[in-house]
């Protein structure tokens, strides 16, 4: 269903995608779509945006594979995520043509993505804490959420930071992002 709806958004944009289009693309009946998404088109579009956001980061995680520690993982993940975001054709097209429709959906779905990314980060932080890289007194669930929020923030809007510069990314990760978490000797 999400795959079908996503293909419609890619083709038609958000405003023009109807429940009928989505049903046809997914190869199911109109009634089935309404049963699955009682909130109608708004719910379907919102859930599809959330689905693609999660899928984007799941794919990124697979691509990154093994990292020796969390800091090293972030140093590779942040520039890669930025690069893939900039080259995400559907996102860039809809951002260009329908920003006022897309961005509120992304914002609403953001908390789900933050939870997802924080859950992905938490075991890495736990492992680093066991190995003495991360402070023993750090509140790891809160830290995982903080790093997830701030990493997403950087990827969406780098601001003054050049994420193509490895020195800058190294500094952002070791100081701004993890400065309160890493054991000082390891910084």
């Amino acid at each position: 269903m999400f795959r079908g709806t996503y293909s419609c958004i890619a083709r038609l944009g958000l405003a023009k995608t109807t429940m009928d289009d989505a049903a046809r693309a997914a190869g199911v009946s109109r009634a089935t779509v309404y049963r699955q998404f009682p909130g109608g088109r708004d719910e379907l579009l919102r859930e599809t945006v959330g689905w693609e956001m999660t899928r984007f980061f799941a794919h990124l995680g697979e691509e990154l594979g093994h990292a020796s520690d969390f800091a090293e993982f972030l140093e590779r993940a942040i520039p890669l995520a930025r690069d893939e975001l900039v080259h995400h054709d559907v996102l860039q097209k809809v951002l260009e043509t329908e920003p006022d429709r897309l961005i509120p959906l992304i914002t609403v779905e953001q908390h789900r993505l933050i939870e997802y990314i924080a859950a992905y980060f938490l075991p890495m932080l736990e492992r680093d804490q066991e190995r003495g890289v991360v402070r023993t007194d750090a509140d790891l669930p809160r830290a995982a959420e903080y790093v997830a929020r701030m990493a997403l923030s950087l990827v969406a809007s780098p601001g003054r930071h050049d994420l193509d510069d490895p020195v800058e990314v190294h500094r952002l990760v070791r100081r701004e992002l993890l400065g309160g978490l890493l054991v000082p000797a390891r910084q």
Binding site: L95, P99, D100, R101, I103, P104, I106, T107, V108, Q110, H111, A138, D139, R142, A143, E145, Y146, R149, M150, L152, S153, L154, A156, S157, P158, G159, R160, R175, E176, L177, L178, G179, G180, L181, Q187
Partner: protein, 206 residues
């Protein structure tokens, strides 16, 4: 759909408005009307009535409602960042200044009636300007505006960098839906910033 346009706003164009001028009355009127019934439903007539001047007078100063919105956004960002810097200036250490600046700004944003209305009922008018490329501009601007609070301890570029990072934290924890931590609560904010934010913003060797 009415949207805020931050494109033409900037610190250089803003500053604080002299009270009683048409500009000051117009921006105050916009804040009142938006807090009451939102941006889309606010008309030039509403603004004129609220500002206590004629429609013609407003049109002599502004060519559209969008122009009043632009100036108001500009004035409000300047007001909130100025109050935040003032809160930081009296603090004895960089860590204390970071907490004070952040707490002041978090409270001003959270208690901002017009902003709260827009985030709750017309998010499309505001969130587009907080994320992606538009977000870049606002983050850099706010970062530069907060920098003076930290220049006692940090060189200028580092101070602006710290300001931008605080702007990011507030954007994520205060302005986005479903905040998980209440950064308007002083003990909570102090502990959070001390643990996670302050250590990343100090001066380091190398």
């Amino acid at each position: 759909m009415t949207t805020l346009d931050l494109q033409h706003t900037g610190i250089q164009a803003s500053g604080t408005l002299t009270s009683g001028t048409v500009e000051a009355r117009a921006t105050a009127a916009l804040l009142t009307c938006v807090a009451r019934f939102g941006l889309a439903k606010t008309t030039i007539d509403d603004l004129a009535r609220e500002a206590g001047c004629s429609r013609a007078t407003l049109y002599r100063y502004f060519d559209s409602k969008a122009a009043i919105v632009r100036l108001t956004v500009d004035v409000e960002i300047t007001r909130v960042t100025t109050a935040a810097v003032d809160a930081g200036l009296v603090e004895p250490s960089l860590g204390d200044a970071i907490v004070a600046v952040s707490l002041q700004a978090a409270r001003d944003l959270d208690g901002h009636a017009a902003l709260s209305f827009l985030l709750a009922h017309e998010p499309e008018s505001i969130v587009s300007h907080l994320t992606f490329a538009e977000g870049d501009r606002v983050l850099v601007w706010v970062g530069d505006a907060l920098a003076p609070a930290f220049t006692r301890w940090l060189p200028e570029p580092e101070a602006a960098r710290a300001g931008e990072w605080i702007a990011r934290v507030l954007r994520s924890y205060v302005l986005m839906p479903e905040p998980t931590i209440d950064l308007t609560d002083a003990p909570t904010a102090r502990e959070f910033f001390r643990a996670l934010v302050v250590p990343g913003l100090g001066v380091h060797d190398g």
